[in-house]
Subunit: 121 residues, 2 copies
DNA sequence: AATACTATATGCATGTTGCAAATAGTTGAG
DNA sequence: CTCAACTATTTGCAACATGCATATAGTATT
């Protein structure tokens, strides 16, 4: 476990940018564009509330700039142009860090719930 | 499960105010003041990084104002004055909602990890 | 021509955090 | 006695992420 990198995430994030992890995973499964990712997010098992489109587009642009994903403008046969995103090698590594971080967060929640239940019975 | 109330939390929080849940639980276990709560948080099983004092004090004041906890100024035999916090009935209810919310978040993380592992093997 | 759907981007107010710094009483070391 | 360290709380500020609303624009349907 690369605890150093998990620490880096810990530093600036709580659970806020969880959407990034979701997007990276979806893009690992298959390249996609923003609009489609929004639909896939709303279908996926790991969603809670309806996602906000602006948040998705903004996070995609950020990850693009940071090199985790790369985009390519597509003028399809129909509909407006769209930006097709693909996961990069760097993004794949980042997803691993995310997974480690999420494991830790899950443990944290479990510890909380254990303490909560222990005290409630 | 009171999904309406869990929804309310969902609305404005991601995982940011998780510290509130931790504080409510600690105060349910026993009344405490801010400085002590910081130490208890750093000892507790459900902590991740070192907690920031300002964040603790601010959240305590907020929850005080909102009626989830109530404070009482104490001039001890030694050391500077301190604010002793106790959990209120309303706070106890709120903690239940938090626990429900945390269960949901935990499931969300598990679903993510399941999808991640499924795709990685 | 009007409406709906696909598709992306941006502005703005709001809320939370971390760090730093201010304040202040108490205790212990030299 | 004085300086440092510890207990204890508060406030200011910049940074950041989000949600909602809005703008833009191409395409398809009625």
């Amino acid at each position: 476990m690369d605890n150093e990198k998990v620490k880096e995430l810990e530093f600036s994030l709580s659970m806020e940018r969880f959407i990034q992890a979701e997007l990276l995973l979806l893009l690992k499964q298959k390249p996609s564009h923003g609009y489609e990712l929004i639909q896939r997010l709303n279908d996926s098992e790991f969603k809670s509330a309806e996602v906000d489109a602006a948040t998705v587009y903004r996070n995609l642009r950020r990850m693009d700039k940071e090199g985790m994903i790369k985009s390519q403008w597509e003028v399809g046969e129909s509909g407006p142009g769209r930006r097709l995103y693909k996961l990069t090698a760097q993004g794949e590594e980042h997803l691993i860090v995310w997974a480690q971080y999420i494991v830790q967060q899950k443990i944290k929640l479990e510890n909380f719930l254990a303490a909560y239940l222990r005290f409630n019975q």
